[in-house]
């Protein structure tokens, strides 16, 4: 379909949020007042939405694939030898308003993992179905960003229903799906002109220019490192150097918009019922890869570390996701006590390739 574009005033954006709140749980970026930390969470009021806030501290995947959720409850009746079961996850229409393009790309990767393969994950599907995705172009990079290296920003080019970009006259709204078009059709928004389309392109170009040299310079290197990782040519010493700095906290996986590993555990509640919990897991943990019979193919920490980078930056994985597993949000660099976020790992492998030059 050809993409329709409109120009909305701030007032119209607010009105849209209010209107969506009638039929959706509306989530958006907001700033915690005391700590100034940004979270992408349910909006109490349209006024809480801050479209200019930096990328949220936690990825938006929290809404579709929470850190921990109860998915099932069951009770065994020993006398009648029967089990009463009830599922604990429920479908609610959600509007994700103001997604940064990296988080949108993250959702697309999770979609392909949870829904696009042999098995469809019903819990994720239930959360994901009836989601309205509204993305928001980054007018400038935030300090840790490198999405220009991973083809996931600063503007979104697929997967959104509606996309916003702040221009001089207001917000440029691009329509990306039939669902989005239906919303647009119900409004009398001003149609955007070619001048706006030109300004949009200029805004994106300027944003790319504003990325630090380190990030833009790395663009080709990410591809080169992918090649190295795929072919297995990264030296063991490099993985050990990286592994020695891993504190095995799991933070990188928890903040990664594309990490999809989880663990399942049944726990007993006080009243004899059982709850089935699903919680995020991380390949950096030793117990994660343990198999029956105590075999652990990835016991040394460096083997667990390189597994993660294999998942983010290798061709076989990218084939599954139809894009690199890394979306360039830089959050792993933020939270890693060992300072081995993905950009640094690319640097170390790059250093190995160049023999210490650069």
């Amino acid at each position: 379909m050809s993409m329709s574009m409109y120009i909305l005033s701030s007032g119209e954006i607010s009105a849209l949020v209010t209107e969506l709140q009638a039929s959706y749980d509306v989530y958006g970026p907001q700033v915690e007042p005391q700590t100034k930390q940004v979270f992408f969470d349910q909006l109490a009021t349209p006024a809480a939405l801050d479209l200019e806030a930096p990328i949220p501290s936690m990825p938006v995947k929290e809404i579709l694939f929470p850190q921990m959720e109860r998915i099932l409850k069951y009770k065994y009746d020993a006398e009648n030898q029967s089990v009463a079961m009830s599922k604990q996850y429920f479908e609610r229409p959600k509007a994700l308003f103001g997604l940064r393009p990296c988080d949108l790309s993250g959702i697309l990767v999770l979609d392909r993992f949870f829904l696009g393969q042999e098995f469809v994950d019903d819990v994720y599907l239930t959360h994901r179905r009836q989601c309205l995705l509204i993305s928001n172009t980054c007018l400038h990079p935030f300090p840790q960003c490198f999405c220009v290296c991973t083809h996931s920003g600063p503007d979104a080019d697929e997967g959104f229903d509606l996309d916003l970009t702040k221009l001089q006259d207001g917000y440029l709204l691009r329509v990306g799906s039939e669902k989005g078009q239906a919303i647009a059709d119900a409004h009398q928004w001003q149609v955007a002109t070619p001048r706006h389309a030109k300004e949009f392109k200029a805004v994106v170009d300027r944003s790319i220019d504003l990325f630090p040299e380190m990030a833009t310079d790395n663009k080709a290197w990410v591809a080169k490192v992918m090649n190295r990782i795929t072919t297995g040519f990264v030296k063991q010493e490099t993985w050990e150097y990286i592994g020695d700095q891993c504190f095995e906290c799991g933070a990188c996986s928890f903040v990664c918009p594309t990490c999809s590993c989880f663990n399942i555990e049944d726990t007993q509640t006080a009243c004899g019922e059982c709850e089935r919990l699903r919680m995020r897991d991380s390949c950096s943990f030793e117990g994660y890869a343990r198999m029956a019979g105590d075999h652990n193919p990835r016991q040394p920490v460096e083997d667990r570390r390189n597994k993660r980078f294999f998942c983010k930056l290798s061709y076989p994985q990218s084939k599954k996701y139809l894009r690199p597993g890394c979306v360039g949000c830089g959050r792993c660099q933020w939270v890693c006590p060992g300072d081995i976020g993905l950009p640094n790992v690319v640097q170390y492998i790059r250093r190995e390739i160049t023999g210490g030059q650069n």
Binding site: T35, F39, A44, F247, M279, F285, E286, G338
Partner: protein, 636 residues
Amino acid sequence: MNLVNYKPCVCNLCGTGCGQFLKTDGHKVYGVSPLIAHPVSKGKLCIRGWHSNELLSTNERITTPLIRENGELREASYDEAIALVAARMQAFDGAAGEIGVLASARSSNEDSFTLARLTRDVFKTTLRGIGAEAGHRKSMAALEQAFGYPGAHGSLTAIDHADYILVVGTDITRQNPVIGGNIHAAQRRGARVVTLSSSRTQIAKLSTKHFQEKPGTLGLLVNALGKALMAIRTVNHDRRANIDQLPGYADYAAALRSISSVALERASGIRYEEIEEEAHHLEQARSIVILFSSGISGLDRPTIDAITNLALLSDRMDHPHSAVIPVAGISNLQGSFDMGMSGELGNSVFKALATPDSRIRALFVIDHDDGIIRDKERIAALDFVVYACAYKSAFMELADVVFPLPAYNETDGTYTASDKRVQITHKNVDSRHHVLPGWSLFERIANASGQHWGYHNAAQVFKDIAAHTRGYGDLSHELLSKGFGQHWNPQGFAGCGRRKFNAINIEYWESPTTPEFPFALMIGKAQHYWHQNNLMRKTIVPRREYDQTLWLYPHGYIEISPDDAVRLKVRDKWLVNVRSSIGTHMKIAVKISPDVQDGTAYIPYFIKNMISDFLLPYENAYAAGEESVIPIQIQE
């Protein structure tokens, strides 16, 4: 506008005091996020912090008061349980040593302060202590002597700016990972990080320099650094009048001069030339941070004295980026010490329990990790035991009355981190079972005993803390609610600013090993979890990680070097008989590790048999903490 679902608080799982957000709807906790603006943790959390939501939503909670009747615990109302406790406790003579009180190093300051009041004014006993404080009191005594107040000198944030960081002993990336991460970051920005540790820990690998000394010689090594530093100044005719004139200097200097480089090398395995080279770096540093672990796995007093002396000798302790920090494994160890719950020297609850003819008849206990219940038979035989904890634990089996407590996010409370930073956590979840906060429970027990304190909320308790606790005078809940806490003010101590060298003795540690018992066994080094056993057992992913080790080594493990394994003709996971020189023994699997020196062996702290059967007979092993060495033989 406050967020709907994310509430800031302070992680309660070690003495670092990291900032975290809990994702909660006010009824349950669903997730955790690090707090980026926090000055110490700066957006980092460790495996424990990242999984606090699992602990905070466990079903293994104590939800109501319980009273033991005909051998079984039954549910009871607060009124009934409190009346029973008040009545029974009145029958004991606290002043005569019949009542012992064990506080928790995880309790808030408000809870510990009111517990101290209950202990003093209602139970009238001086027999009190904090679960795992043994080592911390030694740290406090040494620091008070050196700097004039019992607390850390300087702030943990000094790590981010200091030129030189000395890590003495502790396996800090495991025990306090976020501090370890800050040290690692400092090393990467160019600070010189030096680790003294008998085994090759992760922080040793990440350090600029690692001195791998023989067990038991940490203090000697620190003193040797002092000697070399002094020698450099002598050569340079660099007199430091401000240091020379401090009390104790002459004796300290004389002791340092007496160190023989030959004897040093024989005892520690480290050449004096290496120490001399290191002292040059130390001398050039403008700011110096020294970290050591404090608490049950902490160092012995002579080693801590050596550390505080070296700090004073460095002449850099007035620099804003210098610090000496006793790093606690448990969240509020410092605070519970400040609130007066630490026992008197020589009058400890454990000593009373271990002495057969002591007068102890009743025990009042908060928390207590179940892996290390000492003197279990004696506790079981006491007339009356009261236990309060948020989570179910093995200690309940010993109690006549059990009280629930709120989890750390279910009530307002302040916590004092290792560097004296006092931080507040506001209640962000309604306790599901209308559980009374600790301070309120203690007040009601006091009420039932005829005393009225008049506290209505935690802020009011804190007002009393500020009025009666040295260093806390400037603080209030209102102040602490802005920003990320505040260090308590050492000016509250009359001695603050007065510096003094501790007396030291140079001893060349002779290994207690013999041809019959040739291995020096060290305890304490472990995976992530040893000091939070009762809590970590209630999580899911950290528990799996903990079990991961035990699955591989179901009987626990003893770490030895690859060469020793060859000599003993054993392979990884093989069971061996370990026999100590006093006759205790156990069967345990071998774990072969290149990080361990020949002739040494390590057993993690958390292995239960190790504590109860093997270690407990070693009273002095507890006293010496991290530096304790037990001679053993290992046989296939």
